[in-house]
Structure formats: structure tokens, C-alpha cells
Subunit: 469 residues, 4 copies
Amino acid sequence: MAPIVIKNGRIITAVDDYTADILMEGERVQTIGRDIPVGPDVEVHEAAGLLVVPGGVDVHTHLDWEFGSARSADTFGTGTQAAAFGGTTTLVDFADQKRGQSPLAGLEDWHQRAQSSCVDVGAHVILTDVTDQTLEDMKTLIAREGVSSFKLFMAYPGVLMVDDAGLFRAMRVAGSNHAMVCVHAENGPVIQALIEEALSQGHTSPKSHMLTRPSLMEGEATHRAIRISELAQSPLYIVHLSAREALVSVAEARDRGVPVSAETCPHYLFLTDEEYDRPGFDGAKYVMTPPLRTQAHQQELWRGLRTGNLQVISTDHCPFCFQEQPLGMKYSKRLGYGDFSKIPNGAPGVETRLPLVFDGGFRQMGLSLNRIVELTSTAPAKLFGLFPKKGTIAVGSDADIVLFDPGETWTITASEQHSRVDYTLFEGRSVTGRVKKVFLRGQLIVDGTEWRGREGMGHFVFRGESGKV
Amino acid sequence: MAPIVIKNGRIITAVDDYTADILMEGERVQTIGRDIPVGPDVEVHEAAGLLVVPGGVDVHTHLDWEFGSARSADTFGTGTQAAAFGGTTTLVDFADQKRGQSPLAGLEDWHQRAQSSCVDVGAHVILTDVTDQTLEDMKTLIAREGVSSFKLFMAYPGVLMVDDAGLFRAMRVAGSNHAMVCVHAENGPVIQALIEEALSQGHTSPKSHMLTRPSLMEGEATHRAIRISELAQSPLYIVHLSAREALVSVAEARDRGVPVSAETCPHYLFLTDEEYDRPGFDGAKYVMTPPLRTQAHQQELWRGLRTGNLQVISTDHCPFCFQEQPLGMKYSKRLGYGDFSKIPNGAPGVETRLPLVFDGGFRQMGLSLNRIVELTSTAPAKLFGLFPKKGTIAVGSDADIVLFDPGETWTITASEQHSRVDYTLFEGRSVTGRVKKVFLRGQLIVDGTEWRGREGMGHFVFRGESGKV
Amino acid sequence: MAPIVIKNGRIITAVDDYTADILMEGERVQTIGRDIPVGPDVEVHEAAGLLVVPGGVDVHTHLDWEFGSARSADTFGTGTQAAAFGGTTTLVDFADQKRGQSPLAGLEDWHQRAQSSCVDVGAHVILTDVTDQTLEDMKTLIAREGVSSFKLFMAYPGVLMVDDAGLFRAMRVAGSNHAMVCVHAENGPVIQALIEEALSQGHTSPKSHMLTRPSLMEGEATHRAIRISELAQSPLYIVHLSAREALVSVAEARDRGVPVSAETCPHYLFLTDEEYDRPGFDGAKYVMTPPLRTQAHQQELWRGLRTGNLQVISTDHCPFCFQEQPLGMKYSKRLGYGDFSKIPNGAPGVETRLPLVFDGGFRQMGLSLNRIVELTSTAPAKLFGLFPKKGTIAVGSDADIVLFDPGETWTITASEQHSRVDYTLFEGRSVTGRVKKVFLRGQLIVDGTEWRGREGMGHFVFRGESGKV
Amino acid sequence: MAPIVIKNGRIITAVDDYTADILMEGERVQTIGRDIPVGPDVEVHEAAGLLVVPGGVDVHTHLDWEFGSARSADTFGTGTQAAAFGGTTTLVDFADQKRGQSPLAGLEDWHQRAQSSCVDVGAHVILTDVTDQTLEDMKTLIAREGVSSFKLFMAYPGVLMVDDAGLFRAMRVAGSNHAMVCVHAENGPVIQALIEEALSQGHTSPKSHMLTRPSLMEGEATHRAIRISELAQSPLYIVHLSAREALVSVAEARDRGVPVSAETCPHYLFLTDEEYDRPGFDGAKYVMTPPLRTQAHQQELWRGLRTGNLQVISTDHCPFCFQEQPLGMKYSKRLGYGDFSKIPNGAPGVETRLPLVFDGGFRQMGLSLNRIVELTSTAPAKLFGLFPKKGTIAVGSDADIVLFDPGETWTITASEQHSRVDYTLFEGRSVTGRVKKVFLRGQLIVDGTEWRGREGMGHFVFRGESGKV
């Protein structure tokens, strides 16, 4: 692999902003400087006028993931290729513990599926059955398998939900073993009661998905998770925060010094619950959990990004096709036609994060470029034990680098995406700012619209301590 | 029943404070005035120098109550006699729904036991099994049985606990039918995990009861109950609030106008967790739930009483004998000798409320006399649909009246109590202020240390709307 | 004066609600009871179907008051007659310390003017010059003159404003002498800067009055007054609270147990800043301080009344005529024609409080009748050392009683008012609920639309401890 | 000036942490990389085992500053040399507007005094007289003089204090001209009243300085400054925050997105008010404003540093000698012997910041090394318009670099300091971590205990936009 020099780019990290050349060699950044001498064996990429940012880190994706009777539509191959085109070079994806089984088995299974990855990937493990053996296995996962974060669901009773005792016990093990618990915070039982009531009253359309998942119950569960984590003395990470009430609890706890962090997702920042008023079954495209919220909530999320009460923007990429064909019913929203509670929960997004956040966050909402990098790369890398290997442009770090044209205006459309899913939440949206080149550990994998990577080139990332603030 | 005149007393209600005579006739207050003419057929009680207050209303007692394998030590006869000597003329006690049975059956059973009451009694019904039929039965209880409040437990998983869906569904029925839900707010599953862990580590003494029920988990559950009640649009009543964290949630909600109320109990106001350091099994006397807290919590409770964020002082009278004899093991704390988790949870208190609150609240902490009356009589009467029949001294109200000597100093001791229980939490405590005479619906039932009432004279009180603020 | 019996009325106090007869004798309530025997010398007033409430207590009026170059349009005679027709039998009005003079002189002057009062009146003293002598005089006023509350202005620099040092020093004297400080809380200097700027930019219309007094600066000053009172250990009373930000500070302090109370006024509850968009000079009618606020603020005020974070509704009756004639320019809003900063600040309201609050608070917003009485009579009486002489219907209290027809619908109009002012803020407003008869210390002074009282019959009320919660 | 390479150091920025070489050339960082080739003309400094951090930025010093009748004891020469030995390469010091004069004149005067600086210096201007001309001059200072921040005092009435109108007007100009207002937030008038009272009661010792400046009044003024800045739409910087109450207001505002920042100082983090109990006049050494607080406040400050609610640690270096000789009474604390109110307010600290914060913040309180750099260099540089010239180690930035030995333990003592002051607040304190070498724009100025710099080599720094978050 020849050395590569990126010349004259405007380099943005979570704190710095300067113009220089970058020499990558042996998968890492070797030198950063003015007018780096370029030998004959060196491949040069001119970056004048471009932003040079660390490869994105997306710590919330569900690739090739079984969820009830459905399965998310992307393989690790297609999903990671999509990520790369979106400027993301590291994912942390979810392995599952099946009830009655060991989480180690779930990780083993995930590794099988993840072999086709095109970018680097780490794994969280979802715990659904917190037995004494599970707690022991957590320690093994942390120390031996490089899995330093676990996800537990307070939603989906009977499917994924664990009770508060399980949550507490897992948190205690995480807290004393340098790991972190991620929580899907919604009050599952109350929501289940609302769903049953809606169905019994004949409400079957996608909009009922939203109506049965009130923001109050996201706020409640977020507060509960925080209090339990305080008792357990464990760092906590709230995934896909969408509601004002939840943000209030996070902010209050952070002000008291509680080590809780939270992510939101682009769809909560750019879309509102008006999408559920679309005719027919179209609203099903927007059935993810938590659902889209009102504009008032959205404004609070932007405020949270500005104030630092939200630390990460992830995608929660969990794609299901809108049409049944060609992938089959198992991969499709159609599973829930006629019964909103059967619509697979999830939406695509791994490919559109950076352009959306740049366009909306920097250009429109006035977040600094440093902050954009922090939210999409540095903060998740630090929180999940990937730093400084990932999450920055610094000497010695992996040469995961994105050249981004801040001036190019283009239109998002599903037909040009690299995921297997057949729609995008942002169809027809014009954005300014586009990924031009992507390097993964010093190798060019995206060159404009051309794919230069290959399945299997992504490495598994063994992660260190999570949750360190 | 001859008319009775109480002469020259200083009458205290939740708002007024004046000197006058009171004429009782036909169970009710007929006239209040200066120098009421006294005919020859009138019985006169001189009250110069005494406070004349409305009979106490205690909305939290467990008489003759089965709790797991234990049973509380008072019959309705002994318990209500003790109440009367404590200046309390109305109780609201708890009937239970057994799992798989109708709450109506539970009320029926309660009525059997309650026939021996010496003071007036109402019933809450504890719901343990929130089925569709239960929800229907709630409406019947409210409209036909005079039961306008229900209690649900967030603690004691597998025994009394209902899940959040059950809580929510019951709240919705209460909220739309002029009733109120009372909640025991502690996070049962997390506490259960702590208990199991303590036992597995060989911690068996009464102190572990306290250590396994952290205030954080009371705070969490209180917050959760409030949020669910907001969604359900139901008034909410938090029983036996003991923790700062819980009070913070109540105050925050009340400031937003959420119709939540809360009671605390004398033991939280006058005792601290230092009692659990007593030698041997003595700490078992103080095993009630929530447990006694630190002095810092206690100060917050006093603040809550001053600011109005706490509305009621009830006793949670749920007595178990310390010794096995003579009542038998079933009625004794000894059930938990060698395993704190088996100690019956509960303590006596129905007889000492008014003197303690007068001495500590008025004389030492500076609460006004009006506020003392409000906390122990008027507010619970209003919140639980007993007003204006109970809870005040006003023309037309039941002549439930207490003559109280504000200057008499005496010492609390179990040997002089009227409960069947063999100890008091306040043994040897000297207090100033003592109940001298008690009238129930115009009949003298307590005259100094002499008992003038009789079992069976207490009426069941059919209650109206609960939860009206 | 013959004994009077009011028969069969529905008596409402701050806590009770019952039907009975009331016997008044010798200026006081003598007896309350069912079927009080009526001798031949007794005057009987039938009150079946009517509410019988304690005479209103209005602790914020400015009668015959010099304010800069203007003077409020009511004499004590006309103003107190208007009060009586509004169901108010006690005012606490403002005497002034002139700069360089003793507050005792100000009180002396006030007594002269107040001789023509038709209802009972007490006095606060406004302090404008907090010297060592002033502090001494405060003690004299409290102990010898029955003046247990003082008002200081944080607004109107150069006219009425005292600096924070003066505020602090006065509070310390009040706090250690059973008195209370009332504060007009707006940041005077910042507002003055805004006014000067507005004038320099040619903004002269009444609307600029509102635009130059932002709610943020009311909130700031309220917070400041509270913090200074905490340091001074003095009870504090915030007059005419109009802004959400101010209410937030009051609520936060009350939750911590700080003895701060606050009043709002009917105009903030029933009108919004849209009135300033009226054509021409008409907006000048609504020039009071603080100005009318947006509907969002108004909703928060209603919430504050429900939650108990606001304790009193007073009128801040400070009338200036809209027309120059017949009273003269000195008494007219016309003083500020062409320069909003010269419009006399103030509006009438003493006659419309009870009907407005009954109609809006009880009938529309769901406040209880007890709460209406508490807000307009009992709470101000207790806070300002008038209780139990005033503020309740109880044996021994002054027989200040209002018979109120809850069902009569009528229309407010200036032409039927008894103030000298030529307009009302509520012209044409239809309200349900009307004062029918008013008794002052056992004498009928209002009988329907007929005036039965006379100037000079009002007594000065020597007040006891203020600020006791 | 020969190129310099620092080899093998562990480079810490506000976000990164890696090992590399740094090539400095022409005053700036030219290259950062692994194994940078070293030519014969290159000066090499080995840094293995050392931390390599950006030169410190201290935005709060008072050198050669007249304060009432006193003058701070350091010249720009001695003060900046002390700074350099403390690892600080940039100061922002205070120029003053004299009442009745232009702030431009104050800056001119400051430039005269600052010519002897050994490190780079910028200037804030203190405004004491906010006239229309002052507001115009502010714009000139921002645009033409590189002064983008102003300081106003809410304390010291009659000396430095401006009223709220002046504060507001200055903020408005700052807010619309990319500048920031810094505020000394204490309620001057109330404190003045307390001082006068203390003196009148014969309290003259240094401890009274603390007793007359309660934390409540710092909290009040902080809240007030924030609210006025919200109205003015200006960024705000709270200097020397010492009190919990102030921090609460800052946190609350930041959570709402208000652009307010705050600094604390090492003395508040490492000392408490117990120092005022020292015998004799010794407490005068600790007379700075605000005074030292209790340990409870100190814990909150550490919490604020962890949570991000405090952004900067500055020194407020304002030294006065304890002894009269040899500098003379003008420079000495003795001015206040016998009258605490005359003790010059201020203390030295510019030389001890980095070691104290490293030892206490990183080693004891667990702040990350990145956070230490952020607090002492990057954040102040960004907030005050010095970034990226100052505040980081990045290609193109000024080569202001400190080599810091994290393992060396030494003892702070006044006799080894470089300030002219004759004491240190931390005499005898043992700390681990010591400045070894300091480079200013690529020149070695500190080499162990040896001074290699010279007076006059420091540049004035023309600053850009302040207050950008």
C-alpha cells in the first residue's frame, strides 16, 4: 500500500481547524504539516477547497438483524458500503442474546454475518435474559471479546424488554468493569396497553404507531434508566432520544455530574410527526421507534445539541423495504399492512447522516464545524472505547479520512443509494455538502460516486473502556 | 341522645381560630356561637383552656390485614379504639383484591371484618390484578359502594405489585370516574435484586431492610407514577412518602399543576435510620416500608409540610407484635428472625399521631395550629371524598370533635396503648399535648383515659369524589 | 344597631362550605347555626340561593394618591364606596414617605385623606428614602401605628426607586419586627434605558409602555428581591406579579421554604397585551405597571393560582381618567398624550374584582369557591395582620359579609360604577355572579344597587404581624 | 531563529492525546509527525516522558494596576515572567476607563505599561462610565484595537460599579459587534451596607471581608447579569465564579442555550474560608473578591468543571505584598490594617495555575488531561478571539508550547517565585507535575529554573470575535 498524501485540505477535528497536508502510511496518519514533501511513490489527493474530516463513527446500526418476524434489509456488505458513501468508516452494530442462550453465542453469530463488512465494525451486545450466567458472560465479552457496551430494552415487553432488576444487575456489572449500558428508553408496558386499546378500537394505520408511543413515556423511562444507573454506579447511554421530556432528565442528571450521555438521530432533527398524515400506508416508511415528534420537540433537540446535553448523532439505521418485492415480505414494512403494531420498526439512514447534519446543523442551525465532527465521530469514538484509533485526525490514529465538499448541492434520492432498502426518509431533499472521497485505514474506498472498496475489508474493532466522559 | 354543648373552647379548623361554644345535636354540629343558651336537657363539657379540633382522619391503616404469611395484630375493634384515643374518628382502611378474584369480593370480606369498628371507617381497595373485569368492578365500587380510591403497589413483585400497564389502566378508569389512585412507590424489581444479593451475601439482620430499599428507588417510582398519571389524566396520591427524591418529583409536578398529592407519616418525621443500629433483633420493630431515612431526608419532609408540597400526615398503622406470644407467630416480627426479608413490614402508630404532630409540628417546628388540623383531618377528608361530613368543625358537619389539652406533658408507652401490639416506636418519648375527650357523631367515646365507646358503633362511610384539589 | 340574621345562605370560607344562619350583633358574628331563633327586634335577610362570603380584603389600592405630577382620581370616599359595591370591606392603601421626610409624616398625611372612608382601611407605607432615621421610624410604625408592611420600588429610578442597599436594610428591620416588605419588582434602570431609547427613536404611543417593560426584567427583579430577602431573613410580598419568569422564581423559592408570597391582579388574568393595539390613544387606558402580557403569561398566572404559588388577587386600583374633563388634567391619562412615558401608570379595578374572579376563576377555570374566598379575602387578611378580625366568617370576627348571587348575569360598564374614573378595563364584558348585599361590621351598606353606607364610617385598622405564613 | 524539533513527547490538546514530534519554524508549528527528520541546523529537545501541551492562556490578570489607592505589585515584566514559569504564554489583562475619560485613553495607558511584557498579551477594557461616547468607543476598540471584550463591575459602588442600565447598554453594543461582556458579579450596594454595618460594630479584621460578601449576593448578581444579557442578546462571561448559587444560575441558563460562560480560579478550588481564621493580620493574604468559600461551595465548583458548566480556570492574578517593604505601602495589604474594607482586594496566582490544576484536577479529581488543557488554554483562547493562533498545538498555530513533567514532585514557595509579591497562597504545598520548558512563538523562554526570555519580547495580540461558543 503506497503512502498517500492529502494536500491543502482544511482539516477539522472536534477542536482544531487548519489547513495542512496529511501523510498516511501503513494504515495510519504519519505526518501532518505544511508542504509535506512528496516522493515519487506517493499518491497525492488534492483537497484545496474541501473539508478534511475524520471518518464518521456510527454507533447505532442494525444490519442483517432479526427483529421479531422481520429482518433488516441490509447485509453487512450493503450496509457498510452505504455507510462508506455517507462518510462513515466505523460502525458499532448490535449482536443479540437470544432468550435462554448466552450472549457469547449471539456475538458468535454476529461475527459470521459481519464478515462481509466493507468498513470497520464493532459490536454491542443486546441482552434479553439477564441471568447470573449472563452477568458472567458480560465480563468475558468486555475483557476477551472487545465488547464494552451492552444494550437493554425498556420497551417491547415479551420480545426484547428486560425488567428493571435485569437492567440494574447488568448496569452493575458494566459499571465495575469499564463498560457501559445503552438503553432504549420507553415504558414498554404502558405503550403495550395503548397499542392494545388502539387495535381494539379499530385503529390500524401507521399513524397509530405514533399515537401509542407518547413522549411522556419516553421521558419516564429515560428518567428511570438514569436513576437506576445512579444506584448501579454505571455510565449510561440513552439511544435515539427524541423527546423533550427525556432531554430534560438527561440535562438535569448531567448537571449533577451523573455520567449519562445521549444520542439523537437525523430523522428526529429533520422530520416531524406530520409525516404520519401521509395517505394510505405511506406513513409506514416513518415507523421507527421512538416515532417522529412535533416541531416543539425538534427544537429542543437542536437546543440540546447546542448546549452539549446531547453528545452524539447516530442513525439507528434499521432498514425495511416499503415494497414486498424483490427482497420478500420478511424484509418489508408490508408485514404490518392492516395492523400498525406489526409494521417492522426502523428506517434507513446510514448513508445520509453527514450531509444532513452538515447542511442542517452547520449551515442552518449554526453549529460549528468542530461540533459537527464531535457529534458524528469524536464523541461516539470516545464514549465507546474507539478513541484515538478512531474519531480524530491525529498522528498515529487510523487513517480514516473523509474529503467533503462544503459547497456542492445535490438531491437525496433512494435510487442513488447503496443500501438494499427501496426508499429514503429524505427523498427529494436538496442538501449542500457532499462526501467526495473516503479513506479507510489509508485506502481509498469511495471516490466520488465510484466504489473502490470491497466486502470483507472491514476489520472488527476490539473496543476498550466505554463510558468514560 | 341528649344535645351536648362544648363551652368556651378554642376552636381550630384548617383556617379559623376562635373561642366559642358548640352545640351538637342529632350527630351533627347544630350551632356555634358565643354564650349559647344551655337548656336543662343539655350535657355540658367545659373546654376553657383546651383546643377544640375536628376529629382526626387517618386515611392509611391496615387493620386485621393479611400480608403474605403474616397478619396485622389489630382487629377493627382494637385498632379503632386505639385510633379514638389518638383523637382520630375516621379511618380509611384497605380492602384487598386477591389475585384471580374480584375486588368486590375483597370489599365484601373487609366489611365482615370491619363490623367491630368503634369509629367511622371507609375503605380503599387494593388492586393486584388489573383485568378488564377489574376495571369494570372499579366503576361499581365507585358508584355503588362508596369506594372512590384504589391502591396499587409498585413494590413487592410477585406479591402485591402490578406492572405499569396495570397501573396505567387503573388510573384511566379512576381519572374518568371521579376516583383517585394511591400508589406505594418503590421500584420493586430493583429492590428485589438488592434483597437477593444481600441474602446471598449473608446479610440477614433488620438493618438490611433499610439498606436494600434506597431512597433513589422511592424517588424513581414516585416520578414514574406521576408521569403515568399525567398520561392517564388521573389524580394521584403518593402514600408514605419518606425520601427527598420523591418529594422533589412531587413538588415539580405540583408546580406544573399536575393533581398529585402526598402523605408522609409520623415515623419519618420523628425517627431516623439510626434505629436500625439497635442491638440484636430490636431493629425489626422499625421495619416498615419505606424504611426510616437519614436526618437529611427528615428535614426535607418538614420543609415539604411547611411549603405545602406534602398535604397529609397518615399513620400507615400496620402493627405486628415484637414478641411471638401471646398472639402467635402469624402476628409477629419474629417471622423474620434470621431473614430480614421475612420480617412483616409495618409498625403501629394510629394512637400517637395527633400528640406527636402537635408537639413536634406546632411546638417545635412552628407549623400553625390550622396547618396541624389541615394535615391530620381536613386535607385527607377533602382528598378522599369525606368532606364536609368529616374534616372540619362547621354547622351541619358530623360532630366528630376532639378536646385537646395543649399544655399537658406525658410519656408515650406501649403499656398504656389500646392497640393489641406490644410495642410503640416512640417508647419513653415525652410529648406535650394530649387528647382529653373525643366525640364521635355527638357521642362521647373517650373521656380522659376512660373508654366510653363500644365496638360496632362505627359506621361505614360511603365516600364521594376523591382527588379533587 | 339591631341584631341581624342572614338566613339560609350557603356560607363559604377558605375551607368550609355549608348552609346555615348567621347572627350578627355588636359589629361581630355572634352565632352560626341551623334555624337560629329570630326575635322581634332582629332584622332578617333571606339568603337562600345566595353565597355568603367574607367581605373582600384588597391590599393594593392607591386612593387620592400623588404619583409624579398626577393624582389618582378617587377620593377615599369614592374609592371605598366603589370597593363596597365590589364586595370589598377592607382596603390596605398606600401612604408615602416623601424624600427627605419621615414616613411618619406620610402616614399622618394619609390619615387626613383617609377620613372619608366608607369601608375599613389599613395603611402600608411606601419608603423612598431609607436612612437610619427611616429604619427607626419603621419600628414606630409597626409597634405604635399598626402599620406592619412597607412597600419599596425597584422601578421608577429617580422617583420612587430605592437601591438594593435600601431594600436590604428595610427588609432587615421588617424581618426582625414581625413586619413584611412589599416590592414592586421591575429592573428600573434597564427599563429607563429602554424608555429613553424608544423616545429617541420617536416611539411615543401607549404600546411603547409595554414594549419597554419586558417580562424578563420583572423576572430579574423578582429574583433579586427574593435573594435579598433571604439574606435579610424577612418575609417578602411581590405585588402585581404579571410575568412567567417572576412566577418561576417565586415558586422555586417557596419550594425551598422561603417566606415569599405574591399577588396578581384581575387585569393580568383577563386581558392581554393585544389591548395596546387599539387605535389612537385608547391604549393609554391599559397603561399600568407591569403592563399587560401575552396569553402565554396569562396561562401561567392561572396555573399559579391553581398550584398555590400565587396567594392573593388584589386590584392595584390606581385610577386615572381617560378624558381630561371634568376632573382636570392632573387626574388624566392625557398627561402622556404624545409621550407614553408621561402617561400616569395605573388603572381602576376595585369594584370589579369579585365578580370577575368568580366568573373567570370559579366558573371558567375551575378554582373552588373556597379558593376564591381565600384569594380575595382570607389570604390577604392573614398575610397582612388583619386576621381573624377580617378575612373569614367565624364567631367573633367582624361581621363583614357579602351576599353574592352566583346566577345573575350582568354587564360591566363604567357608567354604573362608583369610582370617579370615567372608564373601566372591562367595558361591555358580561359576567355571571353579582354582589347583592354588603355588611360592614354588621351594618348593611350595599343593598342591590342602592348605597346605604356613608363617608367616614370606615375605621382605620391597626394591623398585627404581617408575613406569617 | 533556527527550527526546533520537540521529539517523542506525549502531545495533549483539548481533544487529542498521542506521541509525536513537533517541528517549529518561523514562530509557528510547521509539522507534527512520527520520526520527523532532523537536519543539522535543527535544535532538538527530547520530550520522552513529558507532556507537551499548548501554552497556557490566562484571561484574568491585573498587572501594574491601580485599584483605589493601591497598585498591584507586578510590572508587566515581572508578572509575565512569572506567567511563563507557570506555563502560560498568553495573558489577557485589564485596561481601565477612568470616569469621565474615554476607554481609548485607558487602553493607550495600558499599552505604555505593557511594553515590558515577556509573553504575549491582549487587553480587555474595564468600563466605568457608560456614556453614549463610551458606546461609540467600544466599537472602535473592537474593530480597530483588537479589544473584543469588556469588563463591568456590579460590585464596588462609587469606585468601579456601573448600574444595570450601563451594563445593559454596554452588552447591547457588545452583542451586536461580535464582542463579549465580562462581569464581576456581586451585589455591590447590599455588600456595602454589610461592610458599613460591620465597621460600625467594630469588626475590622480580615475575616469580615468574607462575612460581608455572602455567596447569596454573588448568586443574585450572576443571575441578574445573565437575565440582562438575555435581554441584550449578548454573550456573557462571569469572572471568578466562587459560589454554588452563581453556578446554579449559569447551569440553568446554559441548559436553555443562553451564551453564558464562566471561569473559576485555583484559589476557590484549593482553599476554603478557614484561611480567614489565621491569627493576626495573616488572613489579609486571602482577601480577594469574591472571598474564599466553604468546602461545600468548593465541591460544587469541581462538579461544575466536570459537567462543563464552568469553562475556564483563570488566575485573577492581582498581587499585593503582605509586608510594606520594600515596595512601599501603596503595594501592600497593610493599607487595610485596622480596617478590612481598606485591604487591597487581590492575590497572586499567575505562576501556579498549571501545576495546581494538573495535580488537583487530573491526579486527584479525575479530570482528563484533555480537559485540563481545555480549561487552561483552549477554551479561553476560543472564547476571547485568540484561537487558533493560541490555545492549541496544531499546524499553523503559534508555537507556544510547554513541556511538562507529570512525575516531578516539588513544593510551592514564595521565595522561588518570579512575581514581585512576597507571598503565595499555597506556601509549602507539595504538588506533582512541573513546567520544564516553555516556548513562546518557537523561542525557548523557560528552561527548567532558568530564564531565557526577555522583557519586551511579548507581542500585543489583536483579538477577533469573542463569545463564540
